[in-house]
Symmetry: C2
DNA sequence: TGCGATACGATCATAACCGCTCAAGTCAAC
DNA sequence: GTTGACTTGAGCGGTTATGATCGTATCGCA
């Protein structure tokens, strides 16, 4: 039983039951718990499953429930970033979110904001525009949120929608505030992404937004990814974690970016 | 009974009755009161329910909880319908799917079609257009599928996207084949849905399609839901289960619909 | 308003699980 | 045959989930 066979078997179990437990997989595949865990971590990294305590749950079809028992190291920082960023969206505003793990954390924090749920009825407390299907899935049961999805072709890696259809949609929209997840942010180069297709779609979101808040953990700072999304002058605020280098923060502030270290 | 299953069960109870009591949940799920309380606190934090003394109540407006939690029945029939319907899509074609549990079954069957996965590379074996975010989520990891999502406002109940943005997207698209999930199909009234907003979006999908295949389990046959999607003349094929009444099948055939009982 | 019963939150003990690290084993390339 | 990269399995310290206990708060009822 080599690795490939194990992964295939795990995926089959996930497809069958929607979840896998470590013990169960150990018994079925004859590998050690450590190995099974490594495989599940791999599946989690590949976005094919979500790691939980005791196993993993299927991800691709798990729009069943917006539940996440994720336990991880970088997860804590992202959650804090999400908390702080989510507080920046005023009640009643229209807020944009692109794809990525950090914006997903913002989405979760938005969904859990107590002051939004308190509003009994009437107009939604927040309108969310996103081009990422997993972000939409995270938010959609909340009656106090209006969730708008742009159209487009799905990019599997990031769940983002891009292409002409996405651009067509974004031309018709305008948001007060955009939470922009990036692959790199640099005082000279601005915000950037690995994929030029994503960068160009994200640029349209930027253009549709009155205020740009980049959300990025500190590992992204000072990094220049392949494709520029927008120059530093277009960025109003950066929400990151306390791991940011003081020098980098100063540079960004010098470029006109408000820096918040959560 | 792990945590995931408990949370799902609690949500199902909430969707069913609008409330859950701790004792009731303890009896039904076989966990201790402390654990049930912790779960309810979690649901409260996620704004999916409101904690009360003795239990929890569903949030106002969450009658719109996804229908996944309300109906777990007829899964076997739906799967068979999905299998048969998925076989109707030729390799290389562009196929549309709207929202609903039956179309979700079609999506799963499409994703699992061996002849599609066999194609090593090059152009995608199938292009799928959908206005349902959960359908997109079900399909998006497969490299041999190109998944296109229409834009729009998410309706939590069915995961469908509708509204001006959806219409704008659909105007720009055309598909060879549409798998249409409905709330009712009748030889006189045609295909219909409970929500007029969905019906109008679905009508645009119908207009964009060269061939219409309605997928519906036999409980939907002869039923007229509130809003018409399209008249019977617009329907080429119906894929349903063997529970269909012979008389109803004859009527539909008389109206020009090819009837396939899987 | 006062009382009894019930439910609650906090704390703790237990057991399972996790991530991490290290050593041993496997395989391919040179 | 040797080297080197990769994979696997085991041990260890820390974390998480669960269930029980206990003092306190809340609810229903008179």
């Amino acid at each position: 039983m080599d690795r490939h066979a194990r992964i295939s078997a795990l995926l089959a179990m996930l497809a069958e039951n929607g979840k896998v437990e470590v013990d169960e997989a150990v018994a079925a595949l004859g590998a050690s718990p450590a190995t099974i865990r490594r495989d599940l971590v791999y599946l989690d990294e590949q976005r094919l499953a979500t790691r939980t305590h005791g196993g993993a749950v299927a991800d691709s079809g798990s729009f069943d429930l917006p539940l996440h028992f994720k336990t991880g190291r970088a997860m804590d920082e992202k959650r804090r970033i999400g908390q702080v960023a989510a507080g920046l969206a005023p009640i009643g505003s229209t807020t944009g979110l692109n794809g990525g793990t950090t914006t997903l954390a913002v989405a979760r924090a938005l969904a859990a904001r107590p002051d939004l749920a308190a509003r009994e009825s009437g107009a939604p407390a927040l309108t969310i525009v996103t081009n990422a299907v997993n972000v939409a899935g995270e938010l959609l049961v909340r009656p106090y949120l209006k969730v708008v999805v742009t159209g487009g072709v799905v990019r599997a890696h990031s769940y983002e929608l891009f292409g002409p259809l996405a651009e067509r949609s974004l031309e018709a929209l305008s948001v007060d505030l955009l939470f922009l997840g990036v692959d790199g942010i640099d005082a000279g180069f601005g915000a950037s992404a690995y994929s030029d297709a994503e960068a160009s779609t994200n640029l349209l979101m930027v253009k549709a937004a009155a205020r740009i808040v980049v959300v990025a953990d500190s590992s992204k700072i000072g990094r220049r990814a392949f494709a520029q999304i927008c120059p530093p002058a277009g960025i109003d605020t950066l929400v990151t974690d306390k791991g940011i280098e003081p020098a980098a923060a100063a540079q960004l502030r010098g470029a006109g970016v408000e820096v918040i270290a959560a």
